[in-house]
């Protein structure tokens, strides 16, 4: 484990080259890529937003969450429900509800008719859920491996619940077939690149905000709780609020990322948010570099690009490859690609 000074030095603005290069690439992408590729890139960037949150909690907070898919899903389902309702003629209910024998809209779907409520829900619901969940565990000083195991149980329970409540969640197939968002047709020309710019903007804002946060006293205390939680207590701080706040922020980023992903992908389903996808999210960050914000974005892009390339041709191969990546990165390259860029492998 690196000592303190080395870490703070990493996040002093000394190596600003990589983020700028990435930004330059992102800015020219809409003019260089086909609309299909741009959509793919935008999806991966939405996942990058989630990855930033993992850098905050896992890299700097030492909190391993194997349940980020839950918060990704909360954001994704919030916007998906809104889009489902927006496309409906008056008085009708979504087709999958009719097929499962429902006659009226479930009560908790109603508020999602409002665009304003939906936007608020995308941010507030994952944040609150993350805060409540992590507080319940952290305030009793349960953490580390235990917390990771509990988050995995959470993601299993969440995905199973969605699959079994087919009549109100769309079940295993999830929610899909969206036509418009806030009155803008999803298929109309220009929408794709507009959504891309929005995603890029959110990613940049999240990056800058987290960079600031990690350099602040909050970031220092978070790293201190990671390295010696009891020492932090002896110094008179209660680490719990810091850890809960970090987890809530990561959950919020996951939710926003999930909502944007759903817009680009046109689907949200349990297959994207369950136990296995939740752990895959960790591998993006492990490969990019758990301490590095820029590294996490690169990791999310690279792993998903690789996944896209490999799994379409050889679906079986992808699982072997991902398993091997996990083992390789964790044992030989704990700082990920960002560590390589620094010239140190371990």
């Amino acid at each position: 484990m690196p000592d303190f000074s080395a870490l703070t030095a990493r996040f002093a603005p000394v190596k600003p080259l990589l983020p700028w290069l990435l930004l330059a690439l992102a800015l020219v992408a809409p003019f260089a890529l086909s609309s299909y590729d741009l959509n793919l890139l935008a999806r991966f960037m939405a996942m990058g937003i989630l990855a930033l949150g993992l850098v905050l909690i896992w890299g700097h907070g030492g909190i391993l969450s194997l349940g980020q898919g839950v918060f990704f899903g909360l954001g994704g389902y919030a916007i998906a429900i809104h889009m489902k309702l927006a496309d409906l003629p008056d008085g009708e209910i979504p087709d999958f509800m009719v097929w499962s024998g429902r006659e009226s809209l479930p009560l908790w779907w109603e508020p999602f008719t409002s665009p304003l409520f939906t936007l608020a829900a995308i941010i507030v619901i994952p944040t609150l859920a993350g805060a409540l969940f992590s507080w319940a565990v952290f305030h009793r000083r349960v953490g580390g491996t235990y917390f990771a195991l509990i988050t995995q149980a959470l993601s299993l329970a969440f995905a199973t619940l969605i699959i079994s409540r087919q009549d109100v969640t769309g079940g295993f197939n999830g929610l899909t077939d969206f036509y418009s968002i806030f009155g803008v047709g999803l298929a109309s020309p220009g929408t794709g690149s507009m959504l891309y710019w929005i995603t890029l903007a959110v990613l940049c804002v999240a990056f800058i905000a987290l960079r600031w946060l990690l350099a602040s006293r909050f970031g220092i205390l978070l790293r201190a709780s990671r390295d010696g939680e009891n020492r932090v207590r002896f110094l008179g701080y209660n680490p719990t609020p810091f850890k809960v706040a970090a987890f809530a922020i990561a959950a919020m980023l996951a939710g926003v990322g999930g909502a944007l992903f759903t817009l680009h992908a046109g689907v949200v389903s349990p297959a994207l948010i369950g136990v296995v996808p939740s752990i895959e999210m960790v591998v993006w960050v492990a490969i990019g570099g758990r301490y590095s914000l820029a590294g996490a974005i690169v990791g999310a892009l690279l792993v998903n690009l690789a996944r896209d390339a490999v799994s379409s041709a050889f679906p079986e191969l992808w699982l072997y490859l991902m398993g091997a990546l996990f083992i390789f990165v964790v044992t030989l390259l704990p700082r990920g690609l960002a560590g390589l860029a620094k010239g140190k492998a371990a």
């Binding site: 896992w58 030492g62 391993l64 194997l66 969940f133 319940a136 565990v137 009793r140 000083r141 349960v142 580390g144 491996t145 235990y146 990771a148 195991l149 509990i150 995995q152 149980a153 959470l154 299993l156 329970a157 969440f158 199973t160 619940l161 699959i163 079994s164 409540r165 009891n230 136990v275 752990i279 960790v282 591998v283 492990a286 079986e316 699982l319 072997y320 991902m322 398993g323 091997a324 990546l325 996990f326 083992i327 964790v330 044992t331 704990p334």
Partner: protein, 295 residues
């Protein structure tokens, strides 16, 4: 008491037995090394496939009895391999161990899918395990009774080993204070290896039991391993009594909850129950009294 309640009580007991068999190895090695092997669920799967293969070779009524030691040894060997090639390299990093062993789990699952097919294989229980008894108006399938009996046997044997043998003494010593044990000349790494193999073997044995209940699929271990993780969280560090108690509590809870709600809600309730339990006893069902700050 009505039949449904008694029936679920019995199902809960057999579920608890499976949770226990799956969780014992996890809890023992977590107590010793503070690491969780995420590929532990695949030891169940391995045990299931080994049982299936044993029954191909020895189809008779005694095949299943023979399958138990085969699965135990096979899974124990695999566990030993994972420990010595991977986990040992990561010993000071528990969370990284979690991730690396998850990688192993993915590879093992996909390997099984390529070798045996994704659909799964059927182990035919011998005739003496296919019947059932009726007591108090409840049907008790022999296979489930067999599972409960095996779990009790394993637990008894494990307790004997830990309390009465020399290796058990060493295990308890390392469990109590690793550094001190090492300083007195105990080969800590060998103790780790023994416990890890033992725990993996028990999981392999649990795989044989799973094979009696349904088809063996590449991800058969996954549906039991996450509750088993919760058993470890709730049990208390490295305590067999705690692990047993929490396996029984969670097994009964999961089965009895299903009287009122469906399986998926029961799963959510199980998690809520564990989180609520932590509010009351964060140190687990049984906690060793210690003055250590970071236990």
């Amino acid at each position: 008491m009505d039949a449904l309640f008694l029936n679920q009580l019995f199902n809960g007991a057999s579920l608890a037995s499976l949770y226990l068999l799956a969780a014992l190895g996890l809890a023992l090695s977590f107590g010793l090394m503070r690491v969780i092997n995420m590929a532990h669920g695949e030891m169940l799967m391995l045990g299931g496939y080994l049982a299936w293969m044993t029954l191909l070779v020895v189809p008779g009524a005694m095949g299943i009895i023979l399958a138990i030691p085969v699965a135990f040894i096979g899974a124990a060997a695999m566990g030993g391999l994972i420990l010595s090639t991977l986990i040992r390299r990561l010993s000071a990093r528990p969370l990284d161990t979690l991730l690396a062993t998850w990688g192993v789990s993915l590879i093992l699952q996909q390997g099984a899918r390529d070798l045996f097919g994704a659909v799964g294989v059927e182990v035919r229980a011998p005739e003496w395990l296919t019947g059932s008894f009726v007591a108090f108006g409840v049907t008790l399938p022999s296979a489930r009774l067999f599972i409960i009996a095996i779990a009790a046997l394993v637990l008894g044997a494990l307790a004997l080993v830990l309390l009465k043998t020399r290796i058990g003494l060493l295990v308890r010593a390392v469990n109590q204070d690793r550094m001190m044990a090492s300083a007195t000349g105990i080969d800590v790494q060998r103790v780790d290896l023994t416990v890890f193999c033992l725990g993996s073997g028990v999981a392999g044995l649990a795989g044989v039991m799973l094979a009696l209940l349904g088809p063996v699929t590449p991800n058969v271990g996954q549906s039991y391993i996450i509750p088993a993780f919760l058993v470890v969280v709730m049990g208390g560090l490295g305590s067999i009594v705690g692990t047993t108690a929490s396996a029984i509590i969670l097994g009964l809870f999961a089965a009895l909850a299903q009287i009122f709600v469906d399986v998926s809600v029961a799963q959510m309730l199980l998690l809520v129950f564990v989180i609520l339990f932590i509010q009351v006893r964060p140190q687990g069902v049984v906690a060793v009294k210690t003055r250590q700050l970071d236990a």
